[in-house]
């Protein structure tokens, strides 16, 4: 069976500090895989290594059956991966529209890029309304919408979402999770990193829990939800 993402024995280091130790993880095609754990457990390191932003010091990453270990970020984007990173990281000095245009510049066909940009502004009407505004002036929730829309501009098959609900008002969190379900229904595979474990486990069909850089548990969300020990130790819900 082909998976959207298969990671085997992933090691990521920052100098002498080991951020992940032998992480194994698979994300099914068309599913939502939740990656959970406390602060500093290695979630973001794992995601950034998949995206090609961090050097992988051990293990392998394959994306839709293709070995992408150590590949450059642009090759990983071409393999069908896009990221909505932790902290959103929209280009605050660029307009909303320019953020999308820039992300679309990696699409070979300019007509496709333009169509996608217009589709994004319809899908997220608030971005359409604020297209000329600087991205830095958007609210946190709007910036998160923009970060997701920007990621979708490259037409990804696997979307990495790192803490999309962090710091957002409850209404906005609901909106973001509704989008996650929509994208899944459209067939995009999603790797979702979340601190809000309860919400993540509700939407996910598979979950992996990291602790101190290693996999502490993996399985169906319902099993993990009911595992009181894990809840107390890692989810702190």
């Amino acid at each position: 069976m082909e998976t959207a993402l298969t990671i085997r024995g992933l090691d990521v280091r920052y100098g002498p500090v080991q951020a992940t130790r032998g992480v194994d993880l698979t994300a099914a095609v068309g599913g939502v895989t939740a990656l959970l754990g406390a602060n500093g457990a290695g979630k973001t390191s794992t995601v950034m290594a998949i995206a090609g932003a961090l050097r992988i010091s051990g293990g392998s990453v394959s994306i839709f059956g293709q070995d992408m270990t150590g590949a450059a970020p642009d090759a990983i984007v071409r393999a069908g991966v896009a990221i909505s990173p932790e902290g959103r990281r929209v280009f605050s000095a660029l307009s909303v529209e320019d953020n999308l245009t820039l992300a679309g510049s990696v699409v070979a066909d300019t007509a496709t890029a333009l169509d996608r940009k217009n589709a994004m502004m319809q899908r997220f009407p608030i971005l359409g309304e604020r297209r000329k505004q600087l991205a830095g002036l958007l609210s946190g929730g709007e910036q998160q919408m923009l970060a997701v829309a920007r990621a979708l501009m490259s037409g990804p098959r696997l979307l990495l979402m790192d803490e999309p609900s962090l710091g957002l008002a409850p209404q906005m969190v609901d909106a973001i999770f509704a989008i996650i379900e929509e994208l899944r229904d459209e067939g995009i595979s999603i790797l979702l990193v979340e601190q809000n474990a309860t919400l993540a486990l509700d939407v996910a069909d598979h979950a992996v829990i990291l602790a101190n850089g290693a996999v502490a548990a993996a399985g169906a969300p319902d099993d993990l939800k009911n595992d009181k020990l894990l809840q107390a130790a890692y989810l702190a819900a």
Partner: protein
């Protein structure tokens, strides 16, 4: 009145050169965090490009084009050979690398061409003058003002309107995020160096047309002034660099023209004292960069 017009032309013309050099420094700094002290040598190399083209009997206009091209090629070469390997190193490491590159280039200029100034002679018509309202104004300063404004305007349009410019502004804010979108960072960085080389080449053209000679230190002092201009304007801020360049240029010409003779040895000291005063008033510069997250 005549004197005021003449000195204003001189001030804007000198300010334009500083503004172009400062903008070149700022574009590169804003993206890769490099304070490029070899920028002056890129300008000098452009000057030697003009000198050699003329020596080989090319027409003056072709020589100027080759000089500008030489500066662009040198900027791209330095990026590829020296600075790309140091990408992501801290600001001090990058600064020292650029000092080393600068010293190597100066020695190369001295040993392969000459340690002494070599003359560049343009057609006599270029050094002519014309009169406006009784003031005698040089053709070269006038043309250099036009060239500087066209260059600065052109660069603004590139940064604001083109996809490359958009990528460069995004890179200045978050280079890693730009890479994560799949944009090839090396191209964006190379483009930044090419534009900074282009501006240094145009500055070299103006500078040599006014001075009539090239020597290994030609670019050093104007780039030192341009560096002060980028700090005055706000390190990493492009608009600030341009503003700072004009302010320094105007201050230099004003102090030269209107300071009593007894004080003229203190000209640079007075200009720098004014810069320091401005920085005490606005520590982040006159037009601070929006993301002042580099130290």
């Amino acid at each position: 009145m005549d004197l005021i017009i003449q000195q204003s032309i001189n001030a804007i013309s000198l300010g334009g050169v500083y503004a172009m050099l400062a903008l070149g420094l700022a574009i590169v700094f804003s993206i890769v965090g490099l304070i490029n002290f070899a920028h002056g040598d890129i300008m000098t190399f452009g000057g030697y490009g003009i000198f050699l083209s003329l020596a080989f009997g090319m027409s003056p206009v072709a020589a100027l084009a080759i000089g500008i091209g030489a500066a662009v090629v040198m900027a791209l070469t330095l990026e590829r050979t020296a600075f790309r390997a140091m990408r992501g190193a801290d600001v001090v490491t990058l600064l020292i690398t650029s000092f080393a590159v600068s010293e190597i280039l100066k020695v190369l200029f001295q040993n392969t061409i000459s340690a002494r100034p070599v003359p560049i002679s343009f057609p006599a018509a270029w050094s002519g003058t014309y009169e406006i309202g009784g003031a005698t104004i040089g053709v070269v300063p006038t043309v250099s003002i036009i060239v500087a404004f066209v260059s600065l305007l052109g660069l603004t349009l590139i940064l604001r309107r083109t996809a490359t410019g958009m990528a460069m502004r995004a890179a200045a804010e978050d280079l890693e995020m730009l890479k994560l979108l799949g944009v090839r960072a090396n191209r964006v960085v190379a483009m930044a160096f090419a534009l900074s080389g282009l501006l240094a080449g145009i500055a070299a053209v103006i500078w040599t047309a006014q001075r009539g000679s090239v020597d290994p230190m030609m670019g050093f002092f104007p780039v030192l002034k341009a560096f002060i201009a980028t700090v005055l304007g706000g390190l990493g801020s492009l608009g600030g660099a341009v503003l700072g360049g004009f302010v320094i240029g105007v201050l230099e010409v004003l102090t030269q023209a209107f300071l009593p003779d007894g004080l003229s040895p203190y000209r640079d000291a007075i200009v720098l004292a004014l810069v320091i005063a401005a920085l005490l008033w606005r520590p982040d510069g006159l037009l601070p960069a929006q993301n002042a997250n580099r130290s």
